[in-house]
Symmetry: C2
């Protein structure tokens, strides 16, 4: 996590005494998200975070207003990624099934590339106001996908025997469950996208 700090040590951009890279809010949010991913939000102390960043706890507070701000920043990044998918042209035009396919594929990509942030979003319990706000936005996203599943079912393009609401939940569940096991070094993102699409739209059996 600190390898990038001493390379351009000659120039003094901000203040930084011993090394070049200043601590930005974004970089500290990244550090925090990785720690939250590993131990969970509540079980991660500010001492843990500051140690991971390479400074003391009190120095850490010089750059960050508090623990909840780190959470909020990470959740913002996750939600921006997800809602960005919904705003893409291929998610807005064409038959419902095609739009659904595109959203699922892109959602998997966002999950894979923004893994720590999305993981944080999906593990929320709603204990604080910030968490409830993020859960509300996440529900918006899920409902948009659920509406698309219902459209596809009514258009006769999806299995009518299954309640579209339940189908949408299972769909979201399948995609979101990636955070439980996917690690970027083991499986390529492109292969992951294909595998999820096949399993979701074609099922486990057949061939």
């Amino acid at each position: 996590m600190s390898a990038a700090r001493e390379d351009r040590a000659t120039r003094r951009p901000g203040r930084r005494t011993t090394n070049g890279e200043p601590y930005t809010l974004g970089s500290l949010i990244e550090v925090a998200a990785l720690a939250f991913l590993e131990r969970g939000y509540d079980a991660t102390s500010m001492e843990d975070l500051s140690r991971a960043a390479g400074i003391t706890k009190s120095s850490f507070y010089h750059h960050v207003s508090g623990k909840e701000a780190l959470l909020r920043g990470a959740l913002d990044r996750a939600l921006d990624g997800l809602f960005g998918v919904l705003a893409e042209p291929a998610a807005l035009e064409g038959p419902p099934v095609a739009r659904l396919r595109h959203i699922v594929r892109r959602q998997v990509e966002v999950l894979a590339t923004e893994l720590p942030y999305v993981t944080l979003l999906l593990r929320l319990r709603g204990n604080t106001e910030t968490e409830r706000w993020a859960l509300g936005r996440r529900r918006e996203f899920d409902q948009a996908v659920a509406a698309l599943v219902r459209e596809a079912t009514e258009a006769g393009a999806a299995r009518p025997e299954v309640d579209p609401v339940v189908a949408a939940r299972l769909l979201s569940g399948t995609v979101n469950s990636l955070i439980e096991w996917y690690r970027p070094d083991r499986v390529a993102v492109a292969d992951l996208v294909d595998a999820v699409e096949r399993q979701v739209f074609d099922g486990l059996l057949g061939g």
Copy 2:
């Protein structure tokens, strides 16, 4: 340690002042699991638990050795349910696909009926020795299912284009994601089982 207290319920077994129901370890584990389900393990204090049980914090400790024991008890119950499925005859005999189908259906049933306990199991981060022990047992279960998926693929009964390991992860993810939204009062268990089986083995599309 405590099972001997409730069996002879007619004769005032323990002491109980205001009501007849004695506090057994099992009933307190149930209370705890429900609270953990709502707020998360770390965010739930012993004060919360004792208040939910209707006694003070110090009285609570008269019945329970500690917070981790409650966690351990709940995890035990979840793991017993899951491994019980693997031990059923229909999970041991017959072609791989049929055994897989049976396990998936029964696993959904266990998730639905033991929801708080399984939820606790699936949210573990491995911060304590107890958590790591439970994660190890859970991995055993997942590997047993993964082995069955591989068998089915080699037998030509599942899609060969998808890596069996990834397919098994997606399968487990789909089933386990039920804990994120399923509540026993909204959808009947039998309908849930059918919907999951269809979505997993037949896919979202078609009709």
